[in-house]
Symmetry: D2
Subunit: 354 residues, 4 copies
């Protein structure tokens, strides 16, 4: 068993990590750190753990001393920078769920996050945590881990994951019209807004309501552009809807004039070939559309693809659990690859059928 | 008091018409027709009417005989065709909520709805029921009504209303990039799917779920293209979210290279000037985004506009109640104009603040 | 027009008062006081008011100086005590929505609310604001108001209103088994928990969740006992469910051995006779059960009654909008009676049918 | 591996059985029968299974021929009667989720279900499927199974399970006031209403709504009375709330005059002692109340207990997933006991923490 700690375990992504790791066949959760809740049993803050575990939150300092091999960081953006450096120095592999090690160009990070990137060397060596699209980098990270070298994985964000899984097969096949802008409109459940109570997350604000937010300014924009090679050509608009978990991204992509793609069938074939061998991605049948409820609680992604002959465009849709494949699930998937476990270890479950 | 009937009064749009008309200061609801529920008190099927009205549903035949001056048709698509003809022949003005009198080119109707358009003469004379964008046609309809001539109004659909209110100021100002495609991704509450119970409208299907539907094939596509003059250049994707009422459309529009629009402030100024004098449309402040909950139960629309300097695009958002400004409210607004009443008669109410 | 102010206008009950008063035909809202939001337009905090009113929140001091005749207090419990005294001294009639003037026995108040009752004289003279059950007191208040005397109305709480409307016809008829305990299990939407963001009102806590709270300790217990004359014999358990507005109370009452009540029909007859002439209370047909959605946004109450021959009990159910008949609507109803207006002035609207 | 079939696999309880059995370490699901969906892949009707299983629904006849050892019947009430007889005759153990083998007195069954009970011999021998309260019967069933004899388990219903788990410790300790009636008010999510689309399960009926139903007439009444020995002394009122899964029952029980129970602490001690060794029942700390969200997707039950000194009553609350411990989970728990597996096999998972 590989010993793992979660830093920031009391937030929504952190506690989902705890949920997964407690049942993981190859990893042992040795500490769930949360300075604000230190000492409190997990089951007090999250009664789903009553009867499941007696574990209590510990302090970050206690977690650092827990002799773990892998540290998951579910910390706010910018807080992971120094923490990662410290844990790497202490010999742990770091799987970071924040944005701190995602953007390869530190100046882009600084522009969108408004703080200096203080760990550029780590950033340079960091693997990008979206296995279906960046498997090679994670394979190299596994090599480094095997040799006892420092490893940082900067896991992809929730919107980037759903959007990129929907868009990558077409774009990587070179079928996007040259120079075209891509429109990604995505909808998220409220867990994406985090645990902190605010007017925005009040039930009476969100319930029976729909709204866009962060229009033209959401920080996942440069991340998606980096993943898909779309610098300056993505218009990304996230929306909030009254559900707890679930994220759907709808990506509209104009086809190149010479793209040999003339039907939904060929689009689907392209997508299925692309995700061949990926245990967590399902490309749905023609005419089917992903439903977020089908992937809630899992690390799975459902992708739908539609072909619009009228405008010569493809509309691709990707559904994930924002806390699953969009956060904690993906982090564990990356850790599985890093440690050489079966990629699906601890992540096998299906969503509730209804 | 103008005497009004509602045909198809037991469906969701029909019953919302009944709700509005019962409190209308200038119109008297003389019949609420539903062959399937004829004889049943409204309050039996919709207990919100208990203590409000003793009215019972009547048959369509009874409603035809009710000596009404205005008939609202809340019937399924294609069913309005012959009904409208018959009622016009009987001297009533017809406000149709179906798609049967929206598409000016009958062949487009036949292509998207799969049935022949049997009332082309009526179609040709029909006014388009979206007052903020087609006020002149409704003013002419009022003239015809005043002269005792036949009048049909084909009210805009729910998605077309929200999408067009968000997009029209920019497009009518000629600021859209020439030949560019426009992407409209919209989200609707479940009342938009109608009253008929089905697997799709089952609580356990819709709740905690998000999905796109009708991707590349939704029948509102040609209607939006007609309204905005975008033939063949709109990619419209509707989505279903777990709420009852409310519809949000997010429209992404690339700017013409020479468009003199360089900031959110100027975009907003453009929008506010466009909707000057429109009692039901609010253009929100810069940085604010429409929330559907702010317009539920009303005939109001909230519009937000954002400017993206990176991609030289405008992202405009429109929020309505799909049964209000998207259906029954708009129909009554059209009837008000037709009959020469104050445009806001019976439609003054604000949404519940929370 | 009677000039009215709302103190505590930015909370959920307060803003619902504002919503009603802005459309009231006999009252003019001259100030909406909220020290925390003073200066901010209502439409900024509650965008449902965009285009409806330009009114901004003012300070409490400004509201005091607004020369109002009626003051609605939507303040936290205990805060109304001194405020009511001050406003009464300044010549205003006070309609208090807090618990401060509900419990006639000040020692009961002190026991359940944990603070001294500092305004016993005002309490003694206060009318109880639940018109269907305490009409005489409100009629006397109207007399006092007409003579220019001090008036305080302590409006009933949300749970007491629904519970008492369901139970009173049977209990006042003397049909409750002597000495029997009554069980009231009630369910409320989340607006009942107030506007303040907290872990408890976070969407992700409440959504897809049910729980009881305040079991055996809820402060509405003595209030219901007072209304129904059940001192020490009520077991009241409130529950929270994932909806915004709406409150349902289910009251189980054992029948006296000699009660001449042998069927649902006779129970219903009793209830209908009791509410004869009450414009806001509907007793549903046998076999029908109240649905909270039928009264949302209104001042109406739906009451259902069922007879259990097996256990010789009556199970009565009452549904209200907790912010309507359970708070702001009822306050306005009381003010209407106080001022001699039609009881239904400003409160005529029906709930949305769907 | 024990071979298992599910009859009625396409309904909500049936498909939850499939969900559990597909991951069960000791049972192999060899057929999922649904005559209405026979031939259709599970993943088509329930896309949560996409990528999880290629299994398709089969006919009931095919399932009968599947050489299973255990048959789970998730059929409508009355349909299990002949099916159980047939499968038992064919040598299968039957775990029935319907009401057909729950009520030990066939005449009570006939009175409440309105049909003759045609399998009285099987009924007489049937074990009652609520392991925490009827463990001995299930242990005997295991003996019979081990000897190759016929076995039928009639699993407890959803409301009876939650209600009885909350009430049994107090009642079995003899602390209920002699002759007292017990009030159980329970709230269920909409999966409890089944898969069939109807006006009642339409999203727009249930959403933002609360109502009681089956008042004084719900068929779970005699079942709860049987379990708790309360014949003619239970008043049970179920309610529907807008959530998918989750059931909460609140049980109010007057204490015997001589009951030596004087505090919440002693009540809790009683409950904890009662459920000592029960892996699926958690008695929460004093002051904590069960939340259904903490048990969704699991076979777990959370029980809260409160002591009311004012009325000398105990208010106990029980939360379950109506499709988990209230249906499919409990059925698998019973099967585990029957087959001699670890009681928790296949049922270990915790609910999502948020």
């Amino acid at each position: 068993m590989v010993r793992a700690v979660v830093m920031g375990a009391s937030g929504f992504a952190g506690i989902q990590l705890v949920h997964i790791l407690l049942a993981h066949p190859e990893m042992e959760l040795v500490a769930a750190a949360s300075d604000s809740l230190a000492g409190q049993p997990l089951a007090k803050a999250y009664p789903a753990f009553a009867g499941i575990t007696d574990l209590a939150f510990c302090t970050v300092e206690e977690a650092k001393a827990a002799e773990a091999e892998v540290a998951f960081l579910a910390l706010p953006h910018t807080a992971s920078l120094s923490m990662a450096a410290e844990l790497v120095a202490a010999g742990m592999a770091v799987i970071d769920l924040s944005a701190d090690f995602r953007l390869k160009d530190a100046s882009v990070y600084e522009q969108w996050y408004g703080v200096p990137h203080t760990e550029r060397a780590l950033l340079e060596g960091a693997a990008f945590g979206l296995p279906e699209l960046f498997g090679e980098g994670l394979a190299q990270a596994h090599e480094r881990w095997s040799r006892g070298e420092a490893v940082v994985v900067g896991c992809a964000g929730c919107y980037p994951t759903a959007t990129s899984l929907a868009a990558a097969p077409l774009i990587r096949a070179g079928l996007l019209r040259a120079g075209a802008t891509v429109v990604a409109d995505a909808i998220s459940g409220v867990t994406g807004a985090g645990k902190k109570p605010s007017a925005r997350t009040h039930f009476c604000t969100v319930n029976e309501n729909l709204s866009a937010y962060g229009v033209t300014t959401h920080r996942h924009t440069p991340e998606i552009e980096q993943i898909l090679g779309l610098q300056g050509r993505l218009i990304f608009t996230p929306h909030l809807a009254p559900l707890q978990r679930g994220l759907l991204s709808t990506v509209t992509m104009p086809l190149a004039d010479d793209a040999e793609l003339a039907s939904i069938a060929s689009a689907q074939e392209l997508y299925r070939a692309f995700y061949e061998g990926c245990p967590f991605v399902e490309v749905l049948d023609a005419g089917e559309q992903p439903q977020t409820s089908s992937v809630v609680g899992t690390n799975r992604a459902h992708v739908g693809v539609a072909f619009d002959g009228r405008t010569r465009s493809v509309v691709a849709t990707g559904a994930i659990d924002n806390l699953g494949k969009g956060a904690a699930g993906q982090a564990v998937q990356c850790a599985n690859i890093l440690c050489g476990f079966d990629e699906t270890a601890g992540l096998e479950g299906a969503a509730l059928p209804v």
